[in-house]
Amino acid sequence: MDSAHSQSGWRQRLPLSLGLDPQRGEEFFERVADRRQLAAAIGFSAVVVVLGSAGYGATFGLWRSWTLALYVAIKLPVLLVTTTSLVMLLNWMLAQLMNSGLRFVQIAALTYRAMSTASLVLASLAPVAAFLAVTCPPPRPSDDLSHNVLLLAHVAFVGCAGVYGNSTVLRGLTRLCRPGTPITRLYLSWLASNALVGCQLAWILRPFLGSPNYPVAFLRHDALEGNFFEFVFVTIVWKRLLGG
């Protein structure tokens, strides 16, 4: 009887803890506002981030090989947790500059919560991503179609997860900041800092999908050479699109 009760309680509590409720996790924002049990909240979010992104990461590398699947299952949680941790200080400073009244621990709880929401979405999309990886044509150096289609699918999935994660940040800021705080400006500055750090970390940690033209490796031999923005603007925009 007791175990049945505890089981049903667990079944009800878990979706609430993950924000899968009609109020979309308003209880969590109240907890952050009151600064109640924030260490536990951050720990729970970190666990969700690691498990969710590891599950999705495996489907990323699955197309190329099981080895790469294992590598990306390790690298994707590292990417998300490191990005969140590295930008925390900058986000706190920006929040102070804009007089939001948020404490460091509140910002940590909010950013980890956003990342856990995104990871949850990624985990829910993992079965579809795995199916695509398993059923699409295998990697061939001369044929980029599979690579490009899969890349597009992953961009869409990660984009969808990002939208949910960012909406959590925006709702949190709306609930938690002092009246008069330029919430949109603060939100956009956080977004920019996350993008700046996240893109470069992803560049260092590549390969994720595994181009057929390169061997499978945990990190590329030139991992610390160049950067993401240089690649986008110089190689893609300047050289390929503008013929520079």
Binding site: V121, S124, L125, V128, T135, P137
Partner: protein, 321 residues
């Protein structure tokens, strides 16, 4: 008996009505088909238990199997049981892959459905889809047995499945809090679901015919759009193996080459201008444009020696080639 006694109205006798439980399969099917609003209401109020959902799902798989049987009638033979097995597999696998994302995305959008409700909604949608497919099954069968045009059959089945899935997804939208109007994410999920179905179909291809090597499904991996383009342009490596099986001559001939029966039938009946090279057969460029099987002689002859003669003629003709 006096007159007064005769005109006394009889009070109605209350007969014990047949107890109809809500979760009888027939009630469930008519609920989904005729009263989608009530179905949605029951799901919303969590009055749809696991047993009912599983009943709907089982019915959906059975109906899908029937539609698969009608699809398989196009090529006949082994395609009948293969497609009858493949269609429910495609439906079940697509639903299973997309169910977690429906649950999570709706929950994060503020329109949460419980696990039980999510299963009920998906089972109801699958059941309505399959019922519509069964409704179209006689049409699919009729065209299947009376046409040889693969492209036409593809378009027909896409149209039928589009109607079925469309109604199923409409029921899903009705059953989910706020529906499509209030949940833009449901549109995203629907797009993903349709693409997963298409890719799943490609994974289990061919559905209308048998694979060139006679196996359950083709091994070569492909995207659904590649496969669709190849199918519509007649470049697929598929075989109309037992297309005209009732013709006895053809059947006998196939039996003469038991090791390569599929290839034999394919060689005789593949009606493309450029037949593919089947296992054990090299195409001779000189006979590429000929009608592959000419039964005019067979039709003109009647009698017990028909089968023997025709088989011999065709066999020798084939060996010369």
């Amino acid at each position: 008996m006096s007159h007064a006694e005769q005109i006394v109205p009889m009070s109605p006798v209350s007969l014990p009505e047949k107890e109809a439980t809500d979760f009888e399969p027939t009630n469930l099917l008519s609920l989904v088909l005729k009263a989608p609003r009530e179905f949605a209401d029951r799901v919303a109020h969590d009055r749809f238990d696991w047993r009912a959902s599983l009943t709907l799902l089982a019915a959906a798989l059975a109906f899908d199997s029937l539609y698969g049987l009608a699809m398989g009638a196009f090529a006949g033979g082994n395609t009948l049981w293969m497609t009858a097995l493949k269609v429910p597999l495609i439906a079940l696998a697509s639903l299973s892959l997309c169910a977690p994302s429906l649950y999570v995305l709706l929950g994060l959008s503020g329109s949460p459905v419980g696990l039980k409700q999510a299963v009920a909604v998906l089972s109801g949608a699958a059941c309505l889809t399959s019922m519509l497919l069964v409704g179209f099954a006689p049409v699919a069968w009729l065209f299947g047995v009376s046409t040889t045009n693969v492209q036409f059959m593809i378009v027909l089945h896409i149209a039928v499945c589009g109607i079925g899935v469309g109604y199923g997804l409409r029921l899903l939208g009705t059953s989910v809090p706020s529906g499509y109007g209030g949940n833009k994410v449901l549109i995203v999920w629907t797009t993903m679901f349709v693409m997963v179905c298409a890719q799943m179909l490609t994974h289990f291809r061919p559905l209308l015919t048998v694979a060139a090597d006679g196996t359950f499904r083709e091994d070569r991996k492909q995207f659904f759009f590649e496969h669709l383009i190849e199918s519509m342009t007649g470049r697929t490596n598929m075989v109309l193996a037992e297309r005209d099986a009732p013709r006895s001559a053809n059947r006998d001939l196939a039996e003469t080459v038991p090791d390569n029966a599929v290839a034999t039938a394919a060689y005789l009946l593949y009606d493309s201008e450029e037949p593919a090279e089947f296992p054990g057969h090299k195409k001779n460029p000189s006979d590429g444009a000929e009608p592959v099987a000419d039964f005019s002689e067979v039709a003109a002859i009647d009698g017990p020696e028909l089968d023997q003669r025709d088989a011999t003629t065709e066999s020798s003709g084939r060996s010369q080639r």
